[in-house]
């Protein structure tokens, strides 16, 4: 197939719509479905139109911040760029290797060590075992894990350690495109500084980052572009300072608690 993609673009989104159905029954069981069927009722489903006819170009070497209220479709958009949730309509073209941090944590198995979990995550993303094994010590160092913790079961980790390892894994895979969904709230001020530096390094190498965050200061500090999503559509796009300001106006900041800035 012919792929029409300008060289300077990392991601091109054309007329993208994503819908899916969810079961709104409280009990998602076969027993419940059979009981309903016996009464002549259907399982209650709801169609979610998470993204509606969206167009967006993300150039190489840019940091795109996505802001918006809960349910705006931000996470769905991220999943579809990652290839986890294919479009219902339209097309997404991605130029480069993707690394994701969409659901916090590297772990699948808390009984296994950090090292084992990192290897599994890397294999799932298509890396070779040798490639990942070489990086585990670097990851442990970046995540500021105390000595020996990389070989301890993940269940012994503090929540901060857990989040830091997850972030370290995502950036260690030297992605061309890094997708981060609310992933920057892990760690203390020093770690935040370190992760900012690492992200800026990635961008210098013409790599691309897409961040979903409720922490508007992060979006202002780190991003080169921003979009404001609302109910599956882009309400505004442009310079991060202006977009976050518009979004703040919409949120009517005066009524929001002061701990809104979690980063």
């Amino acid at each position: 197939m012919l792929i029409d993609m300008p060289d300077d673009l990392a991601v091109r989104i054309e007329d993208l719509s994503i819908t899916y159905k969810i079961n709104v029954d409280t009990k998602k069981t076969l027993k419940n479905a059979v009981m309903r069927a016996s009464k002549g009722e259907k399982v209650r489903m709801r169609t979610v139109e998470a993204v509606k006819h969206m167009n967006l170009d993300i150039p190489h070497g840019s940091v795109l911040g996505i802001v918006g209220a809960n349910g705006a479709g931000k996470s769905t958009l991220m999943r579809s760029i990652a290839g986890i949730l294919p479009p219902s309509e339209g097309r997404i073209t991605v130029n480069g290797k993707i690394s994701t941090l969409l659901a916090l944590g590297v772990g699948f198995n808390p009984a296994l060590s950090g090292r084992d979990n990192i290897i599994l995550g890397g294999l799932a993303s298509g890396l070779s075992k040798e490639e990942i094994a070489n990086k585990t010590d670097e990851i442990a160092k970046f995540a500021d894990l105390p000595d020996g913790f990389i070989d301890m079961p993940v269940r012994t980790y503090s929540s901060g350690m857990y989040g830091r390892v997850a972030f370290a894994v995502a950036v260690a895979m030297t992605p061309d495109i890094l997708l981060l969904d609310e992933a920057l709230s892990a760690g203390d001020a020093a770690f935040k500084e370190k992760s900012f530096l690492r992200m800026r390094e990635l961008v210098k190498e013409a790599r691309t980052i897409v961040i979903v965050s409720h922490a508007l200061q992060t979006v202002k500090d780190l991003c080169t572009h921003a979009i404001w999503m609302h109910k599956g559509e882009i309400l505004a796009k442009g310079e991060p300072g202006a977009i976050t300001e518009k979004y703040l106006e919409f949120l009517n900041v005066g009524t929001l608690p002061s701990n809104d800035e979690d980063f």
Binding site: M1, I3, M5, D7, D8, Y20, K21, I22, N23, K28, T29, L30, K31, N32, A33, V48, H60, R79, S80, A82, G83, I84, L85, P86, P87, S88, E89, R91, I92, T93, V94, N95, G96, K97, I98, T100, L101, L102, A103, G105, G107, F108, N109, A111, L112, D116, I119, L120, G121, L123, A124, S125, G126, S128, K129, T174, D176, E205, A206, R207
Partner: protein, 302 residues
Amino acid sequence: MAEEKNEAQAPRALAYAPRIQVFEPHRASLPPIRGYMREFWRRKRFSLELARFADKAEYLDSNLGKVWLVLNPLLLAFVYFLLVTVLRGGSDKAHGFTTLAHILIGLFTFYFAQNVISDGAQSITQGGRLILNQAFPRTLLPLSSAIRSFWQYLPTIPVYIAVVILGKIFIPKADVHIFSWALLWIPYVTACLALTAFGMALIFATMNVYFRDTSKLLSYTTRIWLYGSPVLWLPEMLHGWHRVILYVNPLGPALAATSEVWIRGHAPTLAQLIGLLVWALIAMVFGGYFFISRERDFAVRI
């Protein structure tokens, strides 16, 4: 899965090898199958390592745990043997031993299929975070459960052989073969059985995403399934049209063939060989379609 293509005209300044991926709506709910299979093959090592790590996590604290994997069906076989012989009002030693050997190999084989199905059924709902965070062919998760079940099945074979050798020492008249040329059929029988069970695991894994009580229901279903399979009874006990029972059961031909090869030292019958292949194909085609066509839903329903 995404269509991929190397991008030759990418700017040289980029310090990486770019590749283009295109995500488009699936046709008839199915992703492009060639791309899917390519990704599946590329990441097969993940399934293998996941199986290895899952094993490691489960038996981290006890090596005795693994012994139970063999001991459990072994003890169960003795219980069933007692039950069957008592119900039948007892029989001579030689015949009794043949029955025991049949139950033992049947139970080991049935447990292999049961583990592929029941562990595979839970593999998607238990792989939550991985499914939410990364794009990869989800069939790799039940495949990993199948690999692990196979590893657990392997040590049961030498246990069976040891029991038969001991039995033949104490009861020389026992009519049970140990080694025969027919054993060469075992890889074929096992491969077809594994594919059949894997196809069914794909069906139940998908159902478990929609209805979380599927795996619970499965534990009762497999118990009834065991009674309907030629494990506690011999295939030759069925005559005439009753023999249909052997073939409508997806595991029937495999279990009948296993007994034929191990106990009698005969090659499987033609009907068994065909039955094995037909069930493997049906399970893989239906299971594969059912699972892959609903993979998109997994990320929003987990």
